[in-house]
Amino acid sequence: MFDLEPDDELALVLETARRLAREELVPPMRTHEADRAISPALASSWEEVGLSTLDVPIELDGAGMGCLARVFVNEALAEGDVGAAIALDPYGTALVALLEVGGLEAARTLREATGDGARRALFVDARDALVSEDDAGLTLDVPWVAADEAVALVLLDENGVCLVTEGLAFDSVRGAGIRAAGGGRLRLDGAPVAGRWENAEGAGRARARARLHTASLLLGVLSASCTFSANYAQERQAFGRPIAHHQALAFLITDMRIALDAARLVVHEAAWRVDQRLPCETEAASAFAEVIEVGRTIGPNGVQILGGHGFMADYPVEKHMREARALSLLHGGFDAAIEDAGQALIAQERPLGLGQEGAL
């Protein structure tokens, strides 16, 4: 029955992730952004932590902790710096997408291609790309990925996934944010397909996991914005008192926090469904849409609360605002998410009835 307490293992992992985010990701945040890369020292020290293989199955030498653990940790790391969180994660959703569609064998192929995660793989939803295929191979154009390089691409469409390990070309782009992970336009020009797995149901679950992955990163960014702006508002004085004590701002900060907490629960519930092997596509689409919508409010208002200071790069809230927006555009963005969720909802008689499948 309803319980929101992480088990001891997850609590421990989460504590580690939060500490690392605070100590290792926040201080060099602007340096990483300017360098368009994380420091080699951070990258090498990270391998020992093991957070990157959290949701990799035990059969593939991962921790096998599942989707819910991944979204918890994603949020914690992204609260420090989402660019670094992405740069430090060799697989993103690429591995679990292969797993959902093609099973362990497919996932193992990617493990091998990346040298067990020594080099990055990219996940791309075909909705974010121009894709065509002919006898010569796969041709693709993705306007932006949060990477300058990668050794493998997992491309998801409605029917399944394909794996590409050759011919990945990157044109460097500035990137609206998340620059610590790099930023490039990804192109394939008749690249050979290393593997293809078709399974529409698995593709749906893979998209759900991808959306939850991004949603949880977004949660981290928004949480950082909420916390920073709320703290600032309690220190900054205007008209003789902290600006947070003017009711207009007090209510704004409150509403931001309510929206964030609510969105987090929705993401957690959807991720829990993934791990329970319950239907999760609608819930994940809905959760992604919710976090995006919340981000529309929190991102700009985090800046607004700081006034002129918020607009300056001296404070992190402008970065939060940019990065939240960029993340929100992935996987077809808000419109694709509400379309998927809406179509599924109207097919049901009573979509939110209690106790269906023994879950909320």
């Binding site: 029955m1 929101l4 992480p6 909802l345 209690l354 106790g355 909320l360």
Partner: protein, 391 residues
């Protein structure tokens, strides 16, 4: 361990509640709305409630062996509240039983008080009610501002004042009246007293006319030199050192806010299902605009439910839930108003006729943003903790 499951037993109880809701609550609510009056005391509806085992107390008796209504976890109670409110929120407030003050009596009452005031609810011989008299014309969400006075008089107390919007007051066996020893001394001077039906000076009952939720009575009454014995002071004098008197009421509010949120979620879900049904019947679901709006409301219902359950879960865990309780109510009440508004916009001019379920829900649901502290008060409560907003 994180779990969003509803266990099979709770699921079965929810299914049963849905069946009762469909057969009993929904028709009774629609009837009361049509009659524009509360369900009358002698209505067979209440007898059927007793036959189903409702209308009792969760108090286990002094010997600890009896329990007419088993006590469930807060989370399960919230789910049940949601399901019941889905069918009719006004009717569930009208249901017989010791109502809002029950928890106060269980947690603070003396053994004698429990026996006297909850005892008759162990095996009720007829539909019985009790209620909590807090709100006054000049003190709504600001419960510290109540003006009803209690003056010590020999071995008893004299109460004077006026209460309003009190549910089931005219039909209650007793009312737990919140009063102050000194209106200038704020919360610490407040006490709660059992005032039994027929006590001289308790009167001028007036059932208010409401916009919605017509199935239960919201009643104003006056207390004119009402004399109650010392034994009627909830918990006895020792309980009321420092500011504990006020905390009695606050405790109720804490338990109540997620409950109201759950009600709002149920009502919103009702409006949503009705909206989808209407849209399907009228071939509107193919329109992007309609579908997008339904999706948006569904999403809000889902998140409001989860926030409320989190508040309930914290209560089950005996952890502080002040922020979460307020958040849940602020969020759910607002969301439910949007859900019913959308529903009316979907049904269009039909909604203006005044006989559509969604139109009733639209009127009913407004109260969810008002009772147990308005949405604005909830935000003030959260902001006090979040950013130290001064009182």
């Amino acid at each position: 361990m994180i779990d969003f499951r509803i266990d099979p037993e709770a699921q079965a109880r929810l299914a049963e509640a849905a069946e009762i809701g469909l057969k009993e609550l929904r028709p009774a609510g629609l009837e009361a709305d049509k009659n524009m009056a509360p369900i009358p005391v002698g209505d067979p509806f209440f007898d059927r409630c007793l036959e189903r085992g409702e209308g009792g107390t969760s108090w286990t008796g002094l010997d600890g062996k009896r329990a007419r209504s088993p006590r469930r976890s807060v989370v399960e109670r919230l789910l049940l509240s949601e399901e019941q409110a889905y069918w009719d929120r006004g009717v569930i407030i009208a249901l017989p039983g010791p109502g809002l003050p029950e928890n106060n009596v269980i947690s603070m009452g003396t053994d004698e008080q429990k026996e006297r005031y909850l005892g008759p609810f162990l095996e009720p011989d007829r539909p019985r009610w009790a209620c909590f008299g807090m709100t006054e014309p000049g003190a709504g969400s600001d419960a510290a501002a109540i003006r009803t006075t209690a003056r010590k008089d020999g071995d008893g107390w004299i109460l004077n004042g006026a209460k309003c919007f009190i549910g089931s007051a005219s039909r209650s066996d007793w009312i737990l009246v919140q009063a102050t020893l000194d209106p200038t001394k704020g919360r610490g001077a407040q006490r709660a007293f059992f005032v039994e039906k027929g006590t001289p000076g308790l009167g001028s009952f007036k059932i208010e006319k409401k916009m919605g939720l017509k199935a239960y009575e919201s009643t104003s009454f006056s207390l004119d030199d009402v004399r109650v014995p010392a034994a009627n002071l909830l918990g006895g004098e020792a309980r009321y050192e420092s500011s504990a008197g006020f905390k009695t009421a606050m405790r109720t509010f804490n338990a109540g806010r997620p409950q109201i949120a759950a009600n709002a979620v149920g009502m919103a879900r009702s409006a949503l299902d009705e909206s989808i049904r209407f849209a399907r019947e009228h071939d509107l679901l193919g329109r992007d605009r309609v579908r997008d709006r339904i999706e948006a409301i569904s999403r809000k219902v889902r998140k409001a439910r989860l926030v409320g359950l989190k508040a309930g879960w914290l209560a089950d865990e005996e952890r502080p839930n002040i922020i979460e309780a307020s958040m849940s109510k602020a969020l759910a009440a607002q969301m439910a108003q949007e859900a019913t508004t959308l529903g009316l916009e979907l049904v269009g001019i039909v909604g203006a006729r005044g006989d559509h379920l969604i139109e009733k829900l639209y009127r009913d649901v407004k109260a969810m943003d008002i009772v147990e502290g308005t949405g604005q008060v909830q935000r003030m409560i959260v902001a006090r903790t979040l950013v130290g907003l001064p009182r």
